[in-house]
Amino acid sequence: MYWEKYLKVKTLHEAMEILKLYQGKARLIAGGTDLVLQLREKKKRVSVLVDISDLPELQYIKEEHGQIKIGAMTTHSQLAASPLLWEKVIVLAQAASSVGSPQIRNVGTVGGNIVNAQPAADTVVALMALDAKVVVFNNDGGEEKIPFSELFLGVGESKIDPTSQLLKEISFSLLPEMRSSLGRLARRKALALPILNIGIVLSVNKKENRLHEARICVAPVAPVPMRMKEAEKTLLSRKLSDELLISASKAAFDAADPRNSKLRGNTAYRKELVRVMTYRTLKTALATRGGVGDEAGSITV
């Protein structure tokens, strides 16, 4: 038997009470598109599943004071269909549209994707680049905020413990004149895990033709999604130019250290892809619009 009890709760409070009651033997389940398989393969074990996916208070996408706030049980389909995200945060809309298949996106949630902590999870790569934070409820009634940069501990391991904690909300700030894009490569055009995912978020200063801020997240090139700090620094160092993008891509190439994989390809190939895709994704990102206060006017590269 993969689990003994399956409970659908009506309120957040009820969910937390059940977790408390079972003391580590119960865990939360969202869409279950990954978890059901992991339980079946005995990669994880649990006796009670507490289903929170239908709680309306965990399903929303909204903009508040320059921040985007997303309820953890928002499905990938809902993210992918959000006009707000397509207008202001393209990278996240693209990431949500890239997950699995339509069938998976209709059920899988962004919260589930985060807690499950797979090294190349599409939305996670985007949210890392967005410098997002999560709000987590503890079963002692407390609440804590964890930045994405501290969230992941290893393959399949996040700081959130679904037997005692509930991921409630994901939030991030919109940047002035934000440009973003996701670069993704996979072995086929749908229903395939990425060989490489690159999330890029930039804030541009059109007057000076340079970047205020640059964030690049690449996965899977390490057990957890990785920010390319050197490449980011390079991007901020001078005015925008094609050479600048090339040197930033080179910096990302140097930092990436993917392992040889019979399924994803060998190290040299995957490093080379980091270089090519960083450059390309920077280019596409610069050609987008988004964030707050983005007026017409172009950037010359």
Binding site: M1, W3, V36, L37, S101, L191
Partner: protein
């Protein structure tokens, strides 16, 4: 093992069935309710042969816990049309030769129905995106794409 009562709406009828707590929706449909239209291709969410509609949306029932479906509205291929009175999507698949072994067909047809409910005249690209979670090993997809277009036209004429 204790069985749990699962209640939902299935093909426009209220259904109550006793299920194992760790059964998937596909198990319940095929084994307990004898609805074998949804197929088990991979059992792991990778092929779409087990697609059913939950509240109008295509879902892989092989990885969907049965008890998650409590209170929801489920449609399977059995609820779509009858042999004498085919649903326009079923008819288009037959007319266009979009069926060979038929293993992917229930999933393809349900996914198409959901697409056409949202988008009455999808472009070829939109058809491809919508059906990208349904694998077919036989047809090469060409006739499936035609069938979706024909179904869209016929539904619009109704």
């Amino acid at each position: 093992m204790k069985l749990e009562v699962l209640q939902f709406e299935l093909n426009a009828r209220k259904v109550s069935v006793r299920v194992k707590p760790d059964a998937t929706l596909l198990d319940v449909l095929r084994e307990d309710l004898d609805l074998t239209g949804a197929k088990r291709g991979c059992g792991e969410g990778e092929c779409g042969a087990c697609t059913v509609l939950i509240d109008g949306m295509p879902v892989d029932s092989c990885i969907y816990p049965a008890l998650k479906a409590a209170g929801k509205n489920i449609e399977t291929i059995e609820g779509l049309g009858t042999e004498d009175n085919l649903h326009p999507v079923q008819k288009a698949f037959l007319d266009e030769g979009a069926v060979q072994c038929g293993f992917c067909t229930p999933g393809m047809i349900l996914t198409t129905t959901a697409l056409l409910a949202k988008n009455q005249s999808p472009s070829e690209e939109e058809v491809k995106v919508a059906l990208s979670g349904n694998l077919c090993r036989c047809t090469g997809y060409t006739k499936i794409i035609n069938a979706v277009k024909v179904a869209a036209r016929n539904i619009n004429k109704l």
